[in-house]
Amino acid sequence: MMSGGTSNFFVLRMPAKAENLGIARLAVAALAGQLDFTLHDLEEIKIAVNEAVTNVVVHAYPAGPGLLTLEAEIGEQGLTVTVSDEGIGIADIGQARQAAYSSDPERMGMGFTFMETFMDDLQVVSTPGEGTTVIMRKHLVKAPVPSPS
C-alpha cells in the first residue's frame, strides 16, 4: 500500500484540550500539502479538522480529561481524516448535525455544517458511552487539461 508516490499518513494521539487544536489543523494541512491541494482547499481542510477536534474538546469528556486520536491519510484519491474519541458519544447524530443546533447561546452550532461544506464526504459513527468517530474525505480535483482547438 505504501508504495511511495503520494501515499502517506500519520496517527496522533493527544489530550482533548483546546491548546491542541493548532497542532491538529497544522498537522493535517501539512500532510494535505503534499498533494496538489490549493491554498483555498487547505484553509477549508483546516477548518473542517478544527471543528471535528473542537467537538471532542467541548463535548466528549464532560467528566474530565480524555484523549483523542487524529489520523490523516493521503493517496491518489485525496485526503481522509479520522477523528475519534472514547467519550460520552452523541445520542442523536441527526440533531447534532443540524445547522444552528447548539445548547449554548455562545455557540453557533455550525461545526458540522462547516465539516459538510468543506469536505466532500462526512461520516459520523457514535455509540453513547463508548465514543464517536468522524471520518471526512476531501477529493483531489485535478485541474482540467485545456483542450486543443
Binding site: A18, E19, L21, G22, R25, H40, E43, K46, I47, N50, E51, T54, V57, V58, S102, D104, P105, E106, R107, M108, G109, M110, G111, T113, F114, T117
Partner: protein, 117 residues
C-alpha cells in the same frame, strides 16, 4: 492570539492578530466584555491580521454582538482576509455586522465594503 485595543470616544477598536479558535475565544470574550463593561457602545474589530477563525470564534463574536446591540450599539468588522470573509458570509454575519475596508471608514460609518470582492 494577540489583541490590541484603542479607544475613540464611545467606540472601542480591537485588532485581533493570530488565530481565534476554541482555545483563544475565551480571552477574546473577556477582553471584549471588559471593553463593553467599561462603557464601549460600539465595537470595531480589525480582522486584517486574523489568520484563522472557527465556529467557536464566530459564536463568541455573536455573543458580543448581542450585548452591544442590546445597548443600541453596533459591531463593525474591518478588512477580513478572503477565507475568513467567506466563513463570515456563510454564517450570515455581514447582515448583522457591516464590513469595512479600513478602520477609518468604519469609524466614519461610511462607505461599506460592498458585495463585490
Amino acid at each position: 492570539m494577540q489583541i490590541f485595543e484603542e479607544r475613540a470616544g464611545g467606540t472601542c477598536i480591537m485588532r485581533l492578530v493570530g488565530e481565534l479558535d476554541e482555545h483563544t475565544a475565551a480571552d477574546f470574550r473577556l477582553r471584549a466584555d471588559g471593553a463593553i463593561d467599561s462603557g464601549c457602545r460600539h465595537l470595531i474589530l480589525v480582522l486584517k491580521d486574523l489568520r484563522f477563525v472557527d465556529s467557536s470564534g464566530l459564536g463568541v463574536l455573536m455573543g458580543r454582538y448581542r450585548r452591544i446591540v442590546e445597548h443600541g450599539g453596533q459591531v463593525s468588522l474591518v478588512a477580513p482576509p478572503p477565507h475568513i470573509r467567506a466563513l463570515l458570509e456563510m454564517a450570515g454575519i455581514p447582515r448583522l455586522m457591516p464590513l469595512y475596508r479600513s478602520q477609518r471608514q468604519a469609524l466614519m460609518g461610511g462607505v461599506r465594503q460592498g458585495g463585490g470582492r
